[in-house]
Amino acid sequence: MKKNESAILTSVLIKIVYVLAVVCCIMAPYMVEHYDRMVMAKGDPSVFAPLLITLYCAVPAAVVALICLDKLLKNIIGCQPFINQNVKLLRIISYCCFVEALVFVYFATLKPFAVIVIIACAFMGLILRVIKNVFEHAVAIREENDFTI
């Protein structure tokens, strides 16, 4: 029961992130403008356009990752953790992380702090790749177990 409640809580958090993503998409120009004013106040050149484009380019991969996470969680709540579909979903989420890392490469040339975002996304993608491999083995073990009479 507790494990299911945890999964349901995670599912709710994903829904909240969905909403936050939509809000951020709408509010992005204002947030970036506010950030840009702070940057320009320090005497640095404007980064409004590059940052806004980078953020909007990051949205599709983020949405895909969220959808996959949601599906993955639904399968886990439905007592199907070790199935091939979940392996595929984890693979897609890891690719999304790598795509996000690539998206921030151009912005990192303007603002070096974005390298942290690149490293974080790439590292997360790597972790998910390993978890995907673990799930692949778990699927094989489960199938072996299912066919043990």
Binding site: E143, E144, F147, T148, I149
Partner: protein
């Protein structure tokens, strides 16, 4: 005639590459016991018994083998057979 058709069924369902042949159909026909009845006596589902009969099982527990031998009054060798050639994969 019935035993021959049961044997043929067993061979048809051999797994690709597998060298262990399961002759459950043969023993069931000899003892005149149905799948449902055998499954109930062994304590497994009819679906699992079907997996065993059709050769899709990857492993069998000793406890299951013991119950099968008890119910069918046979030896493990009557049910399990080793074919060194195995079934060629398509």
């Amino acid at each position: 005639m019935r035993l021959q058709s049961a044997r043929k069924t067993t061979l048809q369902y051999e797994r690709c590459g597998m060298k262990i042949v399961i002759n459950l159909d043969v023993m069931m026909a000899k003892r005149k016991i149905s799948s449902n009845e055998l499954a109930e006596k062994i304590g497994i589902t009819a679906a699992n018994l079907s997996v065993l009969k059709t050769g899709k099982a990857k492993a069998i527990r000793f406890s299951t083998l013991e119950k099968i031998c008890e119910v069918l009054e046979c030896q493990p060798g009557d049910i399990l057979e080793f074919d060194p050639n195995g079934t060629p994969c398509e």
